[in-house]
Symmetry: C2
Subunit: 155 residues, 2 copies
């Protein structure tokens, strides 16, 4: 049985809204590109670490292994988080939303999630109440690793 | 000056990666549909309440007013959260991610965020370690309001 057949059996096509919202089976509503959105938070602090995408294979691997797998839209490939950097994510809990086009995973993050070296990709705050003209943001988080050192061998 | 001109002035087109990641201006990387992803969390508990999208107008209104505005992909229209249900979201903090194609808002949620009546749209957990066959999930959250009563006038 091919991998795609396996994943199709695991994730049947979504049914009507009532079944999507109140049914007991995971029937993800993949978009035209075969992806669902994944929000990843730090299980301890609750901070959002990153937003990425999963295809059926990445979702299946995450459910099976308890490690975070994603699909990289820029590289068009399956991607185990931390495979280059060592900054893996152990999944503590997975949730799915009402219409099953997004999942939320709470993880234990080794070092930082962001390729820029920060713990979270959301290291800048946008002050509210700004009206008119360019919108400024402020840096809130320091680097927890040196990206030049961590990604040295892949450049 | 038209609304779209106003928003273009507020959100200049994104520059190269170094500027996107380390610059001081909000230059959102809207997708082909003119949208960025928005992750909304409960400012008190850290729970992810919902995942939605914002166009330039929704983003500008959220920054200006401190209330959450979204763009509904299904209705193709700007949408102030809670305009029908009264379940508005006051934004406590806004963050933007490294490549500026996603924002994170921490909010005070009136009642529940989900149209099914739950506080969060992510009311089902997917147990990890399931291998082979259909993937089951488990309900974790009770309703905090009756959707039939709240949306009665709009059906």
């Amino acid at each position: 049985m091919s991998q795609s057949t396996t994943n199709e059996a695991r994730f049947p096509p979504p049914g009507p809204a009532a079944e999507l919202e109140e049914g007991g089976r995971l029937t993800p509503k993949f978009d035209a590109g075969g992806l669902v959105i994944c929000v990843t938070t730090d299980a301890a602090s609750g901070d959002v670490l990153m937003v990425a995408h999963m295809n059926a294979e990445a979702l299946a691997k995450t459910v099976e292994t308890g490690e975070a797998w994603y699909f990289s839209r820029s590289r068009r490939s399956l991607w185990r988080k931390g495979e280059t950097s060592g900054h893996t994510q152990r999944v503590i809990e997975m949730r799915v939303d009402c219409d099953q086009d997004a999942v939320w995973i709470k993880v234990e993050q080794v070092s930082g999630a962001c390729h820029t070296g920060r713990h979270s990709c959301f290291y800048r705050a946008v002050p509210l109440g700004q009206t008119g003209g360019a919108v400024k943001h402020e840096f809130r988080n320091e680097r927890v690793f040196d990206p030049k050192a961590v990604y040295r061998d892949t450049k």
